[in-house]
């Protein structure tokens, strides 16, 4: 209860009035997220446009919230979605269940599922909370072709890419 201390406190508060506000005006100005931020999932593609996801459902097995549902179907060389035998014909993530832990990312053998930087996941009913494969899959890269592709036989037999030592 030292009056001088009170005056010092008042002065500190008054001075901070003239500092720049730390607020981001959200819808207009978006604060960039951290590099390792875990936002909405994306299903990645290879350079040639093939999907990385091979429908193994390891992500669904790893998911602690049971948010992921995967159904696999057979690839053929005429109708090829991904390298190897199978691809995910259905891939759904329930965003109401997802806790954004990133275990699916860790479990994925082909690095197909990645938690990216989009955090604006609002919806107005429960059905919209289920993100189907079409919403999760990234667009076809510029020099790739959309799936399903017709490919020469024997070229994409290996489901999981060759592992390389990191540089």
């Amino acid at each position: 209860m030292n009056p001088l201390q009170i005056l010092r406190g008042l002065w500190t508060v008054f001075r901070s009035m003239f500092e720049k506000p730390v607020t981001y005006q959200y819808p207009e100005v978006k604060r960039p997220v951290r590099q390792r931020f875990k936002g909405r999932h994306e299903l990645k593609r290879y350079e040639n446009g093939l999907e990385k996801c091979i429908g193994c459902a390891l992500c669904a097995a790893a998911c602690p919230a049971d948010a992921i549902f995967v159904e696999a179907a057979e690839n053929t060389d005429e109708m090829r979605f991904s390298p190897g035998e199978r691809y995910a014909s259905t891939y759904e993530i329930n965003m109401l269940r997802c806790i954004f832990c990133g275990y699916c990312e860790d479990a994925c053998p082909t690095e197909a599922i990645v938690l990216e930087h989009n955090y604006e996941l609002s919806f107005t009913n429960r059905r919209e909370a289920i993100y189907p494969k079409e919403m999760l899959l990234v667009p076809v890269p510029p020099n790739g072709k959309p799936t399903p592709q017709q490919v020469p036989s024997g070229e994409f037999n290996r489901a999981i890419p060759e592992m390389q030592n990191p540089d």
């Binding site: 406190g9 008042l10 901070s16 506000p21």
Partner: protein
């Protein structure tokens, strides 16, 4: 009473009401914006330009809220309490003149509802004390232990600080030699009473902060201990009335402080241009309100025993000392 004077009184009453009700709405915005700036935030700026429609949005929201009356509540008192709390805040401004007397068509009009009443200061003290009944009734009738404790705290606090408040305003009364607000303002033509009564003004200010239950003396509604204190069971417009009472009292005590100590509507050239009077008064009131908000942004809540000790052991002796010194000097100088 003639029709003309009825119209005059009606108009003045409307102005006093508009000052408190409109002032309440925009004081909330003012407080939120200023406090936000003090915390290096921006504050509400979405509703309308610079957030100017925010009070309207808040009001609409509160109107559409459900009005709950707890089953254990005393219904009549529960409904009466917000009214008893808000009324003093609305009528306390009646004795404050907003500007110097105006000559219109040869007739002199006073710019206050009853500023020539010869017990103006007494009226202020009396009306200000009524508000505590509303708070105690609200606390009691809610049938909630937190509300009851908030009500009890506020009554104890207001009783303690009202003594210091009453003694602080004795300074201006002695210097002016009158309890009439008009006389007190007239007495400040040479020099504002804040210069002659710095201690009195300080005591008045601290006591009013306690009187209107503002931080750091916001014991009755201490959120962390009592959830919301006496108005914990109130919702919707009944809650808004309590809110209005608190902010209305803030405005009222700022008006009173500006009038008793800061020369009211007095300022340069006010005798030549009467419309400068209200402008000067509003500037002084806003300055005092800013200090109230500033206090809230700076200080933490007092512990209850310290609050009581401060009121009885420091503020009350100081105000008595102030009265004594004022009286002695007044007699010696010969006033």
């Amino acid at each position: 009473m003639s029709a003309a004077s009825l119209l005059e009184w009606g108009l003045k009453s409307v102005v006093v009401f508009v000052i408190i009700v409109g002032g309440f709405a925009y004081l909330t915005l003012f407080e939120r914006r200023v406090q936000a700036r003090m915390q290096t935030r921006i504050g509400p700026n979405r509703a309308g330009p610079w957030g100017l429609l925010q009070p309207v949005a808040d009001g609409i929201k509160l109107i559409f809220k459900e009005e709950l009356i707890p089953a254990q509540a005393d219904k009549l008192l529960f409904l009466l309490a917000p009214v008893v709390t808000v009324l003093p805040a609305l009528i306390i401004l009646a004795v404050i003149p907003l500007g110097p007397p105006v000559q219109i068509a040869g007739v002199q009009y006073s710019l206050g509802l009853a500023s020539n009443v010869n017990v103006g200061v007494l009226y202020i003290l009396a009306v200000a004390s009524i508000a505590v009944y509303g708070i105690v009734i609200a606390g009691w009738s809610s049938g909630n232990k937190y509300a009851l404790m908030g009500g009890l705290r506020s009554s104890a606090q207001m009783v303690s600080y009202e003594l210091a408040l009453g003694l602080a305003v004795i300074g201006p009364i002695m210097l002016a030699g009158s309890m009439s607000i008009d006389q007190i303002i007239a007495g400040q033509r040479g020099m504002w009473y804040v210069v002659l009564q710095p201690l009195g003004f300080l005591i008045y200010f601290i006591a009013t902060v306690a009187e209107v239950n503002r931080s750091p003396f916001d014991m009755p509604e201490a959120e962390q201990e009592l959830t919301a204190g006496y108005h914990v069971e109130y919702s919707g417009m009944k809650f808004a009335l309590f809110f209005m009472a608190e902010y209305g009292k803030m405005i009222a005590v700022s008006f009173i402080g500006a009038t008793l100590f800061l020369g009211g509507y007095l300022g340069p050239f006010v005798d030549r241009f009467w419309w400068l009077g209200p402008i000067y008064l509003v500037i002084k009131v806003v300055a005092l309100l800013f200090v109230l908000v500033w206090f809230r942004a700076t200080m933490v809540r007092f512990r209850y025993d310290r609050l009581m000790a401060f009121g009885w052991k420091i503020l009350l002796p100081l105000s008595l000392l102030n009265v004594m010194i004022t009286a002695v000097v007044f007699v010696l100088v010969g006033g």
